[in-house]
Symmetry: C2
Subunit: 250 residues, 2 copies
DNA sequence: TGAATACGTTATGTATACAATAGCTGGAGC
DNA sequence: GCTCCAGCTATTGTATACATAACGTATTCA
């Protein structure tokens, strides 16, 4: 077939992986649904080999599940899975913060973190916060968490945190969106910012236990807010990963 | 070529993955070395497609690293990477123990754990412990940790712990071998067994914080012993994953 | 003599053809 | 009428051929 358009700027495997991930997170592919390779070939534009590579990678990422008899299906998650994933990431970030505090961090390394902190402070001065500012907050928050993770200087830990964040609802920015609809949104962000401030202070003063504790509390706050957001089911379309939640669960 | 022997009992992909992992852990492939697909095809007996799938999976497992210009190389680890990985797994197991304690576990579910405990007690009655008994200990210990992980009833956490254990030196049985050469071997095992006993007790009494703390201490003990074992470099051949340690490091 | 370029070789990335299996449907027998 | 078996179809697993890019080497020019 000469009709196949080939984009040579990125590898076919990466292209297929991105396209399939989009389909998964947008809900085009439903949880529990079996993924047809041939269908994926048509929708992604890549041939079967790179599509299969992409499927294997997505399985390792945790978005797909291998079917024993062959092929893959879209993984389904319960609300419990989601809150556990957030707490899991919080625990890992806690360890990262402790490593950073115990191993020592120079003032120069801490600078970008403090800039993030100041930028978020600036955003939160708006009451109530605008949609644009909230969007900026999400970006800055993700940046803060990524920088903090790096401070641990532990490649295995950084890798594991990245893997834990692969599940979209477990990423720092993935579920924050859903909170924006809550009446307590502003207050939640202010408390979160306080956590950020404490963890930096703890790292500066080499207080490992305190740094770890505050990051875990940070995650627990997120879990509580996620539950709240799931209760008043308003603006849940802001939580893209909701497409992956089992329809019939507790 | 008609000379290719095809074993149809397991998939070629799995066969290739196992064969390559063996080569990695046995040191046939050196850290930093580039992996040639064609060479892997020859040594594994599978064709290029399943070999490539196996390489992708091994990369996701953390044993290989993708080269930007294409292909894969054997990942190299520092001693710091190894001790961080053990502490990382201990942290996750601590969370699992806490989940188990907080969520409640029936006496029936705890039974297999207690059987493990008793079987290990029996082994440790030998002073000094025999090589065979030590080998049994390694198996039982791995079983104990696996069962404990299951008690968390948290699929995302179980999955993450499995991933953290993929690095051979981070698995419950992976590094224990190296300790057998230490003069304090017996004492170390007794202390570890005490940790096992405490975590079961804490789970039974629904003391989440205590359950978590003891598992983390358990991992910290393992880190200390690993360091000891690496200092007196006797019997290090018992640590198969040593093949993955960078030769020139701190 | 050294450096740069061009060409060739080798290895990876991609596509497709072929093989085998699992699931489904239809027919036949009890 | 229901169940079981057989054959077919559709989909995945595997193999290989082809394309392309990268690296190394050799030759030439400065």
């Amino acid at each position: 077939m000469a009709e196949r358009e080939v984009d040579r700027s990125v590898s076919q495997t990466v292209k297929a992986q991105l396209a399939l991930r989009d389909q998964l997170l947008s809900g085009t592919l439903r949880p529990g649904e079996r993924i047809s390779e041939l269908q994926a070939v048509e929708t992604t534009g890549a041939s079967r080999t790179p599509v299969r590579m992409a499927l294997v990678r997505l399985e390792e990422e945790g978005l797909l599940e291998a079917i024993p008899s062959g092929g893959f299906m879209v993984k389904a998650f319960s609300e419990r899975d989601i809150s556990d994933s957030i707490e899991l990431r919080g625990t890992l970030e806690g360890l990262a913060a402790r490593f950073a505090a115990e191993r020592g961090v120079s003032a120069r390394e801490l600078e970008p973190l403090k800039e993030c902190l100041a930028a978020i402070d600036e955003l939160l001065r708006q009451v109530p916060i605008s949609v644009d500012a909230f969007s900026s907050y999400v970006t800055l928050n993700a940046r803060f968490h990524a920088l903090l993770t790096e401070l641990s200087r532990s490649p295995p830990l950084i890798r594991q945190i990245d893997r834990a964040s692969a599940l979209p609802f477990a990423s720092p920015s993935g579920f924050v969106m859903a909170q924006s609809a809550l009446p307590e949104a502003q207050q939640i962000l202010v408390i979160g910012q306080e956590h950020h401030r404490v963890v930096i202070d703890a790292i500066e003063n080499r207080e490992g236990a305190r740094a770890e504790a505050v990051m875990r509390e940070h995650a627990r706050l997120a879990v509580r807010n996620l539950r709240l957001a799931l209760r008043n089911r308003t603006h849940l379309d802001l939580l893209p990963a909701l497409a992956l939640i089992k329809s019939a669960n507790d």
